[in-house]
């Protein structure tokens, strides 16, 4: 992808989406959904080519809409500040995103993770900005510990 990003921001892997890459990490999903994916979809599908059937064009536009809603929800949720305004915007965009999911994939069941996400606005008000209590530092610590040589001996 030809995105120009600051040197301190980790970009998605070059082979993102291919089976060779394996399962993307949460941080890689976050980077993609923040900029690369929404912008790519907007560029490809927001207007729609003339030769694309109407039904497919509408579905693509709804997919773009859905991705944008998720991106905006994340943007409000991961702010370094919080306020009732942040919580309300996060809730509004998450609900709209899930509605578009139901339209796009009527046979798909919503998962507990979708339910959990709807609690985020309450947590923002109770515990403050998400950076203070999200699990990324713990994941990072686990990553560091996993790289420590221990001669395959536990403890």
């Amino acid at each position: 992808m030809n995105t120009m990003r600051p040197t301190w921001q980790a970009g998605p892997p070059a082979n993102f989406g291919s089976p060779a890459h394996g399962k993307p990490k949460a941080d890689q999903w976050k980077t993609c959904i923040e900029f690369d994916l929404p912008v790519s979809l907007m560029k490809m599908w927001s207007t729609g080519a003339a030769d694309v059937p109407n039904e497919l064009r509408l579905r693509r536009q709804l997919l773009v809409e859905s991705t944008m809603l998720l991106s905006m929800a994340i943007r409000w949720a991961i702010s370094y500040r919080t306020s009732p305004r942040h919580a309300e915007a996060t809730r509004r965009y998450l609900e709209l995103y899930m509605k578009t999911l139901r339209e796009l994939f009527p046979n798909m069941d919503l998962h507990p993770v979708h339910h959990n996400a709807l609690h985020l606005p309450d947590f923002l008000l109770r515990f403050g900005p998400i950076h203070g209590w999200w699990m990324f530092p713990f994941e990072r610590l686990i990553g560091i510990l996993q790289k420590v040589n221990n001669n395959y001996k536990i403890g």
Binding site: P6, T7, Q9, E34, F35, S71, W76, S79, H86, P129
Partner: protein
């Protein structure tokens, strides 16, 4: 781990509405010790052990300001200014690296809030400098991206992205680093057009005044 949890709780406390004023005054210290850095609190702690090395990496060079930047600087300060300044090829603000365009183009794209305006505008950093006699006052000389008519992202204002011309204004503007500054992502959109989107804010010392301004800013995250 205890320090991390304590710092997190403290950060949450000072962000809450109704936080005692005396604690609000400690915010700059807290931000200095536990910046909102992408490398995380743990890595920041490790890096603080290496602060002397880091200080060596900040390259400072005495140079004369170019004519147009010097004029813009005098206009900004509303008084005569010496041409001789300390130039920083790179400069870290709260753990985020910024640089001059001819050094690291990726770190030279910013969004900032011009004085007396309620919008964020994208620009490219041409020079980072401080007056020789006032080394603690750092300024950035920037060229704004030129605006174009394009409503693609208009329906998604909360996404924060917009489309601008690849061309920059010839006019130099001076931005103190105490002002709101965001790093940015940039992507080619079409011929001579780019998509730009601000990332996370890095302004240095939050103050009561800025908190009031924040409420008015459309793109406040």
């Amino acid at each position: 781990m205890k320090s991390f949890c304590a710092a997190s709780q403290l950060k949450v406390l000072v962000e809450r509405p109704g936080c005692p004023k005396v604690l609000e005054k400690c915010v700059p210290i807290l931000h200095e010790c536990f910046p909102n850095s992408k490398i995380g609190t743990l890595m920041h702690d490790i890096h603080t052990l290496d602060q002397e090395e880091h200080a060596k990496k900040v390259k400072v060079k005495e140079v004369d300001l170019e004519e147009d930047i010097h004029s813009a600087f005098e206009l900004y300060k509303k008084e005569k200014q010496p041409k001789r300044v300390n130039q920083y090829v790179r400069y870290d603000i709260n753990g985020r690296g910024f640089a001059m365009e001819n050094t690291t183009p990726r770190n030279s794209i910013i969004f900032y809030q011009p004085l007396n305006e309620q919008i964020l505008v994208p620009a490219v950093i041409r020079q980072i400098f401080s007056p020789v006699s006032k080394g603690d006052q750092i300024f950035i000389a920037v060229h704004r991206y030129q605006e174009v008519e394009d409503s693609t992202f208009k329906s998604y204002t909360d996404f924060g992205a917009g489309i601008w011309s690849q061309e920059r204004s010839l006019q130099v503007e001076i931005v103190p680093i105490t002002q709101r500054i965001y790093a940015a992502n940039r992507r080619q959109w079409a011929d001579n057009r780019v998509v730009l989107r601000p990332l996370i804010e890095v302004h240095r010392f939050p103050s009561i005044f800025e908190a009031v301004v924040d409420l008015l800013l459309n793109q406040d995250f």
